[in-house]
């Protein structure tokens, strides 16, 4: 499947627009507050859009529609899961995080507990999480560009990587925020346009769209339980979706780009509503894809959304959908690389290495170098992983966030007896268990590493990794004989 001139034009327009925004932003970035938090001057509506943009990655658009297309009704798990974490983030974390922190969530942990161990833990989890997320997104971007334009995968990934490094290095959080706002708006408008065309074709009764999907792909489409093979893994996936967003570092950074706690709360409410509405639209688009896209779509099932756009609105809409998917990936990787670079420059360089005594200029310089280093590393890893099953990498960040960052943050905010030792021991337990058990599960141990049997019998380990993290945190805190920091 090759794109036509319309897709090329829209791709080009988006890239030029984002580079102009980056140039404009680079002249407005002043000091670390400007680089990391856009000076705390983003209005709640813009910040809510950017938060929604950070979370609505290619997995939400291409991925969820692909799940409906391939396994039918189980796509609803991604729809419900994508919204579930946001109310919890608002109720338990939102306002207090904004009051306690400055640029990253580790600032809030350092506000309550010993600074050095907490920043070390936050840096480890942030870098692991961002690397997994970035590799999955870059492989998706490379495949998309390779499929649409016929550019070799290595060149596609490198081009996306260079753009991502440029946005963050020169434009910091200001550029990243504006790119997210534009992308979230484009994504919503595209989804609405496609839904209008689906309703025009099938009428207002969703039964007709689902009946057409069942007619095309069989009644098995309406049988749940095909996406996740066992109930315990399904529960683990549900926990990761419900608790993960409140622990994702690139989302948590957006709590500091507004002026106060009230604005952070309003941003979260706006983001929840936008993500919820988008996911409801995706349900109809998913069934329509199953009805209208033929078997074995070129470019694989992940391109089902683009094929659906072609079936609904011809080459023009297909070009727009492909360009929006590309914009989505580009915006999300920019937010992720900024979060990863901040962990290196703000937590490791300034607070762990320089013990808080680094100039703002030096910190920003290190952040730019970290962006370059981390960007180059993940480009290389994405090229290495291009032929592997990278599906597990896309869910790993939510599992890590729910098992490490979420329990430590929430307990730091709401449990007075938490000690530094307890938080560090629990966080490390969550990190080791979440990454280790994913590696031992079938998706990696058998599918990637080629062993005959999985060493861990479940697909998702959140029940065990979060359970282990909470248990160790509580036991270590309660048995701490020096709870001076509790």
């Amino acid at each position: 499947m090759r794109s036509g001139p319309i897709a090329t034009l829209i791709f080009g327009a988006f890239v030029v627009a984002t580079l102009v925004i980056t140039y404009w932003s680079s002249r407005r970035v002043r000091g670390t507050a400007g680089f990391y938090a856009a000076g705390g001057a983003v209005p709640p509506l813009g910040n809510g859009l950017a938060m929604a943009g950070d979370y609505l990655s290619a997995a939400s658009f291409l991925g969820t529609i692909a799940v409906f297309y391939s396994v039918g009704v189980d796509g609803l798990l991604y729809v419900v899961g994508a919204v579930a974490g946001w109310p919890i983030a608002m109720f338990l974390v939102g306002e207090r995080l904004r009051d306690w922190g400055r640029y990253t969530f580790s600032d809030a942990l350092a506000h309550r507990l010993d600074e050095r161990p907490m920043r070390l833990l936050a840096a480890m989890s942030t870098l692991t999480l961002c690397a997994c997320y970035l590799i999955a997104q870059l492989v998706g971007a490379g495949t998309l560009v390779e499929t649409l334009f016929g550019v070799r995968f290595e060149y596609s990934v490198s081009a996306v990587g260079v753009l991502m490094i440029s946005y963050v290095s020169f434009g910091g959080m200001v550029a990243t925020t504006w790119i997210q706002i534009i992308k979230a708006t484009l994504l919503m408008l595209t989804a609405v346009a496609m839904v209008v065309l689906v309703l025009h074709r099938f009428g207002l009764d969703p039964n007709r769209a689902i009946a057409a999907a069942v007619g095309a792909r069989g009644e098995i489409l309406m049988r749940p339980g095909r996406l996740v093979s066992d109930p315990l893994s399904a529960v683990s996936l549900g926990i990761a979706f419900a608790l993960g967003p409140a622990g994702l570092p690139h989302v948590l950074m957006r709590f500091f780009t507004v002026k106060d706690a009230q604005s952070a709360r309003r941003s979260l409410a706006i983001a929840t509503v936008l993500i919820g509405l988008f996911q409801i639209l995706v349900v109809l688009l998913g069934y329509a894809a199953a009805a209208l896209v033929g078997s074995k779509p070129s470019g694989g099932v992940n391109m089902a959304a683009v094929h659906l756009a072609r079936a609904l609105g011809g080459e023009s809409l297909a070009g727009i959908a492909a360009a929006v998917a590309f914009a989505t990936i580009l915006a999300v990787v920019s937010g992720l690389i900024l979060a990863g670079a901040s962990a290196v420059s703000h937590d490791v360089f300034k607070h762990l290495w320089k013990r808080g005594h680094a100039s703002e200029a030096a910190e920003i310089r290190v952040s730019r170098l970290a962006t370059l280093g981390l960007g180059t590393l993940v480009i290389g890893l994405a090229i290495a992983f291009q032929h592997e099953n990278i599906g597990f990498l896309a869910t790993l960040p939510l599992v890590i966030a729910a098992s490490v960052n979420f329990p430590v943050l929430v307990l730091a905010m709401h449990w007075r007896r938490l000690t530094t030792r307890g938080a560090f021991a629990g966080g490390v337990t969550g990190l080791v268990l979440s990454v280790g058990l994913i590696v031992l599960s079938k998706r990696v141990w058998v599918d990637v590493l080629g062993h005959s049997h999985a060493a861990f019998p479940y697909e998702y380990p959140t029940v065990f990794s979060l359970g282990g993290a909470l248990l160790v945190t509580v036991i270590a805190s309660m048995s701490d004989r020096d709870p001076s920091d509790s």
């Binding site: 109310p87 969703p206 749940p224 009230q262 409410a269 409801i280």
Partner: protein, 90 residues
Amino acid sequence: MRPVPPLETLLRRQRTLGWSLSAGVFAITVGYFALMGSDAPIMRRPVWGRWVTVANVAAVAIIATFFVSITLYGRIAHRIDELRAGNTHR
């Protein structure tokens, strides 16, 4: 006109409401995933026509419930903001 509760009372209510709603959101989400993951027959039962099943309607209803929960929480948080602003002005 009802008397406005003091700030401390509202903050306590907000905290209780925050934890209760979080527990509710968590239970609903995990319950939905458990029922779908175990292919519970109730999820395949038609609700509207032949193909709009409990699974579909429940997904949309759950998202609507999340919207209601943030509205409830937002209302009490807004009252706290107003009270704080009033105290600051005094």
